[in-house]
Symmetry: C2
Subunit: 373 residues, 2 copies
Amino acid sequence: MQLETIKTPSLILDINRMKRNAEQMTARAKNLNVALRPHVKTHRCLEIAKLQTQGNTGGIMVSTLSEAHFFANNGFSDITYGVPIERGKFDEAIALSKTIDRFAVLSDDAETVELLNKTANRENAKLDVFVKIDVGYHRCGIEPDTAEAFEIPNKISDSSNLNFAGILTHAGHSYLADSPEKLLKVAQQERDLMRNLAEELRGKGLNVPTVSIGSTPTMSAINNLDGITEFRCGNYIFYDAFQATLGSCSFSDCALTVLAAVVHRDSERRKVVVDAGAIALSKDRGAVALDANCGYGRVYDLAGNDLNLRVESLSQEHGEIHVSDAQVFDNLKVGSRVRILANHSCLTALQHSHYHVLDDGKIVERWEINRGW
Amino acid sequence: MQLETIKTPSLILDINRMKRNAEQMTARAKNLNVALRPHVKTHRCLEIAKLQTQGNTGGIMVSTLSEAHFFANNGFSDITYGVPIERGKFDEAIALSKTIDRFAVLSDDAETVELLNKTANRENAKLDVFVKIDVGYHRCGIEPDTAEAFEIPNKISDSSNLNFAGILTHAGHSYLADSPEKLLKVAQQERDLMRNLAEELRGKGLNVPTVSIGSTPTMSAINNLDGITEFRCGNYIFYDAFQATLGSCSFSDCALTVLAAVVHRDSERRKVVVDAGAIALSKDRGAVALDANCGYGRVYDLAGNDLNLRVESLSQEHGEIHVSDAQVFDNLKVGSRVRILANHSCLTALQHSHYHVLDDGKIVERWEINRGW
């Protein structure tokens, strides 16, 4: 199968770029002396998870229990579930924990810890629980300088059916850093706050097996991770327009594009419309703060040459692209094909059911995506 | 099954509201003396398409060939494919056209019409082709006052293996109307331009069987459709926060919500995080021009009472909600459940694999969603 003939829109995965991204992050984790736990929510694909765990411990991070089941059923035996657990998911999480070597959940809520322990006790299960720490993103987690940052680890540690697995954070505010200096500062803050908290907890007699941090931008910025045991990141496997704009990678590292066909052209407005809309690309607006004109994705030709165009607006199945260059416009007749590098590859990938794997200009495999919750 | 216990996030469809929306639009089309062709891209669900075509001609509109196959395989025999056709989809469209009574495609491109005719000739097929007209949205279509608006219908009509099905438009700029007066003006313009063009084409000897217009907002605004034969709209079956803000419906007409659980609460920032992120809600920003604070959805309790909260930010599986009211915040403990009315129900629905059908507070059925291309 070839890019010229497969159905549009389709998700195209450049396998060589992806392998290079995986190898480079694995090497980076080794150099920094941390275990790499890839966040598979970016792709939710068995073949990719196998590839990116090669040379690492085999542990993965997931964002849904559906992913946890899927990867557990396919040989992954060390899984952390990355959204704070709540009571509606206790039974499923406990059942899952009995099927693999290690299933860890997160909490930052005292009442939830108590209820989880009661349920685990009733089910005769023992569950690993991380305490989620907020190092400045302010999405979830406990701030490290509060009383709770000691109380909740203690509560877990004292619970009959829970193991305190350690502390874990995600410096999501790294995506807001608009300079390399600011990004490095976020990465250092993430490391320092977590290292210090772990030391304080140990000083109070608690065992803190894992100190886990991570985001693709901070992993690209930091050069010393002393005191950290585990690094989690996900987007790096594909990267995307947002990461390249942010400086985590170059545009030539981005491995995932959406193949689309021109379905309309408007000579008066110098505009074409492609058959990749919000359902094919996702409506993530990307790095608007860094690039006000980023639109919903960058447009390449089939060989991967940058056409210097953006998808400016999206409806369900239509994407609009203005084309000022006369020669480029002339080439973009109805039926022509382009490849769109989306702003946010994680959300784009999960709009689709499968990847078309591209190797040396040809589609060589089809890899399925696990979707849903 | 009940809202208190089913897995989150889940798509919840209020069947009574949906039935009322379907009945009201059917009655409206009858009063206006036009055939109603529902756009099933909003839901991509067999049960819903059956329900909304009751009392109408049975014809539907789709946005992908995957939908066309799905509905053709399930008894729908009159289908229009609503994205302009391009050569990569000719073979599939022609094969499809042979399986049902009537499969119509759109074009606004002379070269595409020629190529389609050649392919249809080679395949010994005859295909219905609409000409897409631009009445002011400027996404796709030919403007009615240009030479092409006559040339392309003629070209189709003269083609050995194509039938000229008529003219068709979508006044998508109705979504930008920020007052009832402006909305009515868009609706009248849509009607008048299409009626006049049809008359001109007929005056030149062309048969124009169908004059097809439509969008949910214009259908809610217009009271006279003389000269129009068919009306297409899709969103009305569910409505959403965008449509209610625009005035196409009231908030109590909105039939689709996402059930979510609180996974984190932050007393200092008076914030909760729910387990419905971009993958559950879609990142459509909705009626920002009309309501700068619309966020990514409105928050209701399980009984459907408005909590006067918005989902302010979304990551893949997390949605953040600020809660200023002390009593509401106190009720939203980790594990509590809410229902989120998304900005754009079409995009939200297609993030999920199925609907949970809610009748009188209980989940009574599960209906599957056809996804992909």
